[in-house]
């Protein structure tokens, strides 16, 4: 019957040591974490590693979940922080690392259209600074309203709106460059 239990109830139960609730919770949300990871990092390998990091840290993290926010909001925040963390670590290792990794597996997609679409996505995401990538990952990738994204990122709605207009500017610049 717990299949219908809310995320928040499961998370609180898990934080109190209910392993069944924890098991349900991670199975319910792994794909979400993975996809968000991919949108943040750009490659499947990075997304897997990131999801792995998050999953490994989740038991300890959950103890800080107070139930005052939606579980998914809280989770997105956790994933986003983990993503930034990974990016920082990578930057320390490789000086000139591209912000958004290139997924060779996806570029080599059999479907030419999909490959083309991925190529463009890679260029577009790479052209964005980190905070804008995070913003689009939440709003466009995860279908969040600006209000929800603002809550996850701990910013005001106005900031998100402003960032989205920045995204547009970047994309326009990219289009102009490519048109030349």
């Amino acid at each position: 019957m717990r299949m219908k239990t809310s995320d928040e109830a499961l998370a609180l139960a898990a934080a109190n040591g209910d392993s069944e609730a924890f098991g349900l919770l991670i199975r319910r949300h792994y794909d979400r974490i993975y996809r968000m990871g991919w949108r943040l990092c750009g490659t499947q390998a990075d997304a897997e590693d990131l999801a792995h990091d998050v999953m490994a840290a989740l038991p300890a993290k959950l103890r800080n979940f107070r139930g005052d926010a939606k579980f998914t909001t809280w989770l997105y925040r956790v994933v986003m922080n983990a993503g930034t963390d990974r990016a920082r670590k990578n930057q320390r290792r490789l000086k000139a690392r591209e912000g958004w990794g290139e997924d060779y597996k996806m570029r080599a997609a059999a479907d030419a259209e999909a490959a083309e679409s991925y190529d463009w996505l890679h260029r577009a995401m790479s052209s964005l600074p980190e905070e804008l990538r995070e913003t689009v990952a939440l709003t466009l990738g995860e279908d969040m309203t600006q209000k929800e994204a603002a809550e996850v990122m701990g910013l005001s709605e106005g900031t998100i709106a402003w960032r989205m207009s920045e995204v547009k500017k970047h994309l326009r610049a990219l289009a102009e460059k490519e048109a030349m």
Binding site: S19, A51, A56, A57, R63, L121
Partner: protein, 686 residues
């Protein structure tokens, strides 16, 4: 404007094309999440991990000195020039304001704790109730633009602390890394499995030994060095009826093998010493009667891997004197604090292990600590074991750094031990190291000479090995074998508990010295025989009666087990054909299988005593103890790649061991079965 919206729509559509999660990675993530969940529940609140990555302690230390002398008000002012970064994102929460006071308090609390010197220089995990607060002086300043960009939130950021959710804490464990990016993290994670034990926590948490598949280790170069000999060959009883060896109560090899398997790697065959694996387990042999320090049990059973041969099983049980009657101990901890010990599974684990042991000592026992690294030094003068605060403080102040002057440290430790010993007291140096004696008098041979000389003057030496990657097993063996002591390898706090607490009396209190075993087989009954293990303990036949030749010691309550695989005359399993021109077949009317002689010395005595037992052809035994010992011996031979086992494999070992689990009060045998399963899967996946 239309085209921008198109771009956004296009971006949205492209982002929607996220790949679906891959099965194996997903499963691996579930496994690690659930393992960590379980581990966290078992450890309880106390050890909630807040692992500090390697780069942080310096920052924190810097801060400590920065903040320690100043009061709250300037502290808040100071923070305006700081940017707080977890290794994670700078996360500014709108609801931060009300929490600020609390956050500041926490920071102060941290500083205050640091100020009274409770922390040590070893990497410790911080156990705060709330989030870890990391304040790092900004060397990569977040520019004003970045802050302005956040518009409305500026007033919150400005001049205030930013609290970072510590997502960057190292996860408890990793498994199945999908990319090389994980390797470094894995190292830390492995280390993390013991980090909760670091100095500073008032209670001691026993960690469960890491469970299988915690970490899949990437094969790589390792500078671990092992000592081992080629497996004992099959001997023909008519040509060489006598087999002689020294007892061995070391267990280091088993612990090492366990750690390897749990890390997802089959152990280096050279690391597998069969007798140490067999002797890791306590066996319920008959206790000695009367004055003898030990009793021997000999039984013969069918060989699990060959129905045409038999196993002769020799069990030696040391007497267990009343613990209350033991003489006072004089212990000198010789602690390696070289740079290579600076890893959570080394120095911090070592310190915690010694703390465990301290609780078992009595007020009349004396403890001293000598540290060695670069230069050696007396860290704690001889102190009564009841002064725990003083001893603890000395342990806490140990920190790793410098290279190792092992020999100088050893000499100093012996000196201290000699000062402490009074007539009738046992002196012992307990050397804790990752085995890296690389400065000074460093050849194994020279150290051996030193240790032998000191052994004869009445100070024994035990060696505890820590860590992985640098362990010099061969040196550990040399030191302990020549110092009348035991070598044990400690990988987890539960292992420390087994060696230093449960078996404290045995480790520290020898009941018989130079115990040698000699078996003479009756060629009329036994065609061929093979001693399983004890390769590094072989003795010459004539050395058995030579009291000048050193051999292993047996501590209080120790059990020693040895196994011979014997092939009866006329069995189809005989491998050697009779010689055409050889001596006539041995003729003896005796139906005895062989004759067992044991020599030992009372502690401190020069003259050895002899115990003799006939190995009689009694009905084949089915004792659980012998069965379990043979399962472990078989398992060890599989790991070594023996060619005497035929088709016998890991699943046979598992079946045999499961059948012979007995009481298994501490779960050691169950753990061995788990390891067999692990080895089975690893061998298959090769």
């Amino acid at each position: 404007m239309q085209e921008f919206d198109d771009d956004i729509a296009k971006l949205k559509a492209a982002l929607k094309g996220a790949p679906t999660a891959d099965g194996p990675a997903k499963q691996a993530a579930f496994i690690v999440a659930e393992e960590n969940f379980k581990a966290l529940q078992e450890r309880g609140e106390l050890t909630r991990p807040k692992e500090t990555p390697a780069s942080r302690p310096t920052f924190l230390k810097g801060l400590k000195s920065m903040f320690a002398p100043i009061s709250m008000k300037p502290l808040l002012l100071t923070t305006s020039s700081l940017v707080v970064i977890g290794v994670g994102v700078v996360l500014v929460q709108p609801n931060l304001q009300p929490d600020l006071g609390k956050a500041s308090e926490q920071l102060v609390e941290t500083v205050a704790t640091d100020g009274i010197g409770e922390t040590s220089d070893v990497p410790t995990s911080r156990l705060l109730d709330e989030e870890l607060i990391v304040v790092i002086p900004s060397d990569d300043p977040v520019s004003a633009d970045d802050i302005k960009e956040d518009g409305a939130d500026q007033d919150i950021i400005d001049g205030q602390l930013i609290i970072v959710e510590a997502i960057t804490e190292e996860p408890l464990q990793f498994s199945a890394p999908q990319s090389t990016a994980h390797r470094n993290a894995m190292k830390q994670a492995r280390a993390g499995s013991v980090s909760g034990l670091a100095a500073g926590s008032p209670e001691i948490a026993i960690l469960p030994a890491p469970t299988p598949a915690d970490v899949i280790q990437q094969p790589g170069a390792s500078s671990d060095r092992f000592t081992n000999e080629a497996p004992n060959p099959l001997k023909i009883a008519a040509e060489e009826p006598v087999s002689t060896f020294s007892t061995d109560v070391d267990t280091a090899s088993y612990t090492w093998v366990r750690r390897s398997l749990q890390n997802g790697q089959l152990p280096d065959p050279a690391a597998v010493r069969i007798e140490e694996m067999v002797n890791y387990f306590p066996y319920a042999y008959a206790a000695p009667e009367g004055n003898a320090p030990f009793a021997t049990t000999v039984s013969v059973s069918e060989t699990p891997w060959n129905s045409d041969t038999q196993l002769v099983h020799i069990g030696i049980q040391g007497e267990m004197p009343a613990v209350e009657d033991r003489p006072p101990l004089n212990l000198v901890f010789l602690i390696d604090t070289s740079g290579s010990m600076n890893s959570p599974d080394k120095l911090p684990l070592l310190i915690q292990s010694f703390r465990l042991m301290l609780s078992e000592l009595r007020p009349e026992d004396q403890v001293a600590i000598v540290a060695y690294a670069g230069s050696s030094g007396l860290v704690l003068e001889p102190t009564s074991a009841s002064e725990t605060a003083k001893i603890n403080a000395a342990l806490t102040n140990l920190s790793a750094g410098g290279s190792t002057a092992g020999a100088a440290g050893l000499q100093q430790a012996y000196q201290v031990a000699e000062q402490m010993s009074e007539e009738g007291e046992i002196g012992r140096v307990i050397l804790a190291t990752d085995g890296d004696f690389n400065v000074g008098q460093s050849s194994d041979e020279q150290l051996k000479t030193l240790i032998e000389a000191k052994r004869d003057s009445g100070t024994y030496l035990s060696v505890l090995g820590f860590g992985r990657g640098n362990l010099n097993d061969s040196l550990m063996q040399t030191l302990a074998q020549n110092g009348n002591g035991q070598a044990a390898y400690i990988d987890t706090l539960s292992e420390a508990r087994k060696v230093l607490v449960d078996q404290l009396t045995g480790v520290l209190f020898p009941i018989a010295g130079d115990v040698k075993v000699q078996v003479e087989f009756n060629p009329a009954q036994i065609a061929e025989y093979r001693l399983i293990g004890y390769e590094t303990r072989a003795l010459k036949r004539e050395d058995f009666n030579n009291d000048k030749v050193d051999a292993g010691d047996i501590g209080a309550g120790h059990t020693v087990t040895a196994l011979y695989e014997v092939t009866p005359v006329g069995s189809p399993a005989v491998l050697n054909d009779p010689l055409r021109y050889g001596a006539a077949a041995a003729s003896s009317d005796s139906d005895e299988l062989g004759f067992l002689r044991l020599r030992y010395k009372e502690p401190g005595a020069d003259q050895s005593q002899l115990i003799e037992t006939v190995i009689s052809p009694a009905a084949l035994s089915t004792s659980t103890e012998a069965k379990f010992a043979s399962a472990i011996a078989g398992f060890a031979q599989l790991l070594r790649g023996s060619n005497y086992l035929g088709d016998w494999n890991y699943s046979d070992a598992i079946a045999l061991a499961s059948d012979a689990k007995g009481d298994d009060r501490f779960g050691y045998r169950a753990e061995a079965i788990t390891l067999m399963r692990l080895a089975e899967s690893l061998a298959k996946s090769r």
